[in-house]
């Protein structure tokens, strides 16, 4: 069984507690972003793009054995690092768990203030999109069961 969302969130909060200042936090996010590869180039299309004023995000879901796996990319390395964290928390979870995830860790590591509230960077839109995918899979599964 995969780790619970909350458990992973707590791990991330612990990791961030070691950083003294914002430069170190962003340095870590940049490293995470740089490590994140493997987004299928052919999926970098308008259809998967969540456009912000300052950066764009691409998200592709894959549904396997009742769980959703996400791949994502961004033209902002910092947002990419943040996505790496989100994917670490949400990828491989069930639709139900994803829909209900509160994602408090973004606020606990202090990034909400800096990033998530900006309508411009596409991050909030990305979280919403991930939850929409989860909701769509959930409905699809339920419809399948009743048939």
């Amino acid at each position: 069984m995969s780790k619970q969302i909350e458990e992973i969130e707590n791990e991330i909060v612990d990791e961030f507690s070691f950083f003294d200042d914002w430069t170190d936090k962003y340095q870590y996010l940049i490293e995470l972003g740089q490590k994140q590869n493997g987004f299928p180039k052919e999926k970098m299309t308008e259809g998967y793009r969540i456009k912000g004023c300052m950066s764009s995000v691409w998200v592709v879901p894959e549904f396997k054995d009742g769980k959703i796996y996400f791949k994502s990319d961004s033209d902002s390395i910092i947002v990419k690092g943040l996505i790496a964290l989100l994917i670490r928390v949400l990828s491989g979870q069930t639709p139900e768990e994803i829909i209900n995830a509160r994602l408090d860790f973004i606020e606990k590591i202090g990034l909400k203030k800096h990033l998530a509230q900006q309508r411009t960077n596409g991050l909030s839109a990305m979280i919403k999109q991930i939850k929409m995918y989860a909701l769509a899979y959930k409905l699809k599964t339920e419809v399948g069961k009743t048939k």
Binding site: D21, W22, T23, Y26, Q27, C53, S76, I77, I78, T120
Partner: protein, 415 residues
């Protein structure tokens, strides 16, 4: 109106002037604030801040309504501010100075009243590639409504208007030219007087978006001879939520009201309402009284400065920053017009502009990143956005050094 004595400094000494802006002493992330987002909004001198406090502590009452002393004081201060602003831009008549909430509302006011009245099917409105969305969208909506056309003056690679193309765009269908004085994204200073003269030869009225110009240069409305001039208080060291529309009397008098309600009427009955004279006709409801008074104080403050020295200082800052930035590998300045205000937009090859802005913030440096409400302009340069550093007279070379150092650090972190 008895106000506390407001100390206004004459001459031009940057270190002395900085002391008038309390926010410049702030620390951001433990480092001194380097505020380089003046094109978005400027900081406020203590005199402007104090004027707000003074108004609410001692003089608050509605304007144009009461017979009691407080209301008279409030009305006098509100109208005195209007006259200060008139004098500041050398407009002939203070009735031509209309208080609005800012440049955006000023432009919308003209589109919805003047524009709606004169634009008919098949007419054409001229704007330019470098317009702020506030000087595109209202005209676009009007064009859709009237089945009119929006024509756009193109620019060259440096970000300068192609004046020949402008002349070619003008024809018998052209009814309005609405153009920015200084580009918020590029810093380009447009040859506004020439633009107005060309339009006037064909009797075409011109609206000038002066939001970025007023904080940097002396505006002489009578010399420009523009039909409308729009600007914001908050970009010229005044309060937010107050702005000005200057309009020629002949236009203002034929324009219908923009909004209706209190103060702007002469007589109301259920059968028929008649409207007040200008400028009150355009100021429905209780206005932003403290904002208007505060803007008057900002004008007092600016009027005491030596504009020649201010201009030289800003030019020095622009040249110094440009020189230092050109040393950075992969950095490209967007907007290299010959006539330029102290605004530098740039991109760095391979880096996202938001990432650069975020890392600069960790060093206490505030810049703007993104499209700057000029999406068509960004499309023209085929870029998603820029980082923009915009300087005011209170910025210093030392701050530019901090900015450049932080920028180099950001690049090394992000690459």
């Amino acid at each position: 109106m008895e106000t506390e004595e407001i100390k206004l400094k004459t001459g031009f000494n940057v270190e002395e002037l900085r002391k008038d802006f309390p926010i410049l002493e702030r620390l951001i992330n433990g480092k001194p604030l380097v505020y380089l987002d003046n094109a978005a909004t400027s900081q406020k001198p203590r005199a402007v801040i104090n004027s707000h406090i003074d108004f609410y502590l001692h003089h608050n009452a509605n304007v144009h309504r009461g017979v009691y002393q407080l209301s008279t004081e409030s009305s006098d201060a509100y109208e005195q501010a209007r006259d200060k602003i008139r004098k500041f831009i050398n407009a002939p008549d203070s009735r031509e100075i209309i208080y609005t909430s800012g440049t955006t509302e000023s432009i919308n006011l003209v589109t919805y009243t003047f524009g709606r009245k004169i634009i008919k099917e098949g007419d054409e409105i001229i704007v330019s590639t470098m317009e702020h969305h506030a000087n595109i969208v209202p005209w676009q909506i009007l064009c859709e409504e009237k089945n009119a056309k929006l024509k756009v003056i193109p620019i060259n690679e440096k970000g300068e208007l192609l004046m020949d193309e402008y002349v070619k765009l003008i024809n018998e269908n052209t009814k309005i030219v609405s153009i920015v004085h200084i580009s918020n994204s590029l810093g380009t200073i447009n040859p506004i007087k020439e633009i107005i003269e060309i339009a006037h030869k064909r009797n075409i009225p011109v609206l000038v978006d002066g939001a970025q110009a007023v904080p940097h240069m002396k505006i002489d409305i009578q010399d420009l001879d523009c039909d409308f001039y729009a600007f914001s208080g908050h970009k010229m060291f005044g309060p937010t939520g107050i702005g000005i529309l200057y309009g020629k009397t002949k236009h203002l008098e034929m324009m219908p009201p923009y909004q209706t309600g209190g103060d702007m009427i002469r007589h109301v009955s259920f059968e028929k309402t008649s409207f007040n004279e200008i400028p009150t006709k355009f100021e429905a409801g209780t206005p932003n009284i403290s904002g208007a008074i505060g803007l008057g104080i900002a004008v007092d403050y600016l009027s005491k400065l030596d504009y020649k020295k201010l201009h030289e200082h800003e030019k020095d800052l622009l040249e110094y920053a440009t020189e230092e930035m050109e040393k950075i590998q992969g950095l490209q300045i967007i907007g290299t017009a010959k006539e330029k205000a102290s605004v530098i937009s740039f991109i760095i090859k391979g880096l996202n502009v938001m990432d650069i802005g975020i890392i600069l913030d960790t060093a206490g440096v505030a810049v703007r990143t993104g499209q700057h409400c000029t999406e068509p302009l960004m499309d023209r340069f085929c870029i998603p956005g820029t980082v923009r550093a915009s300087f005011a007279f209170y910025n210093t070379k030392e701050e530019i050094d901090i900015f450049i150092e932080a920028l180099n650090k950001a690049i090394s972190m992000l690459k």
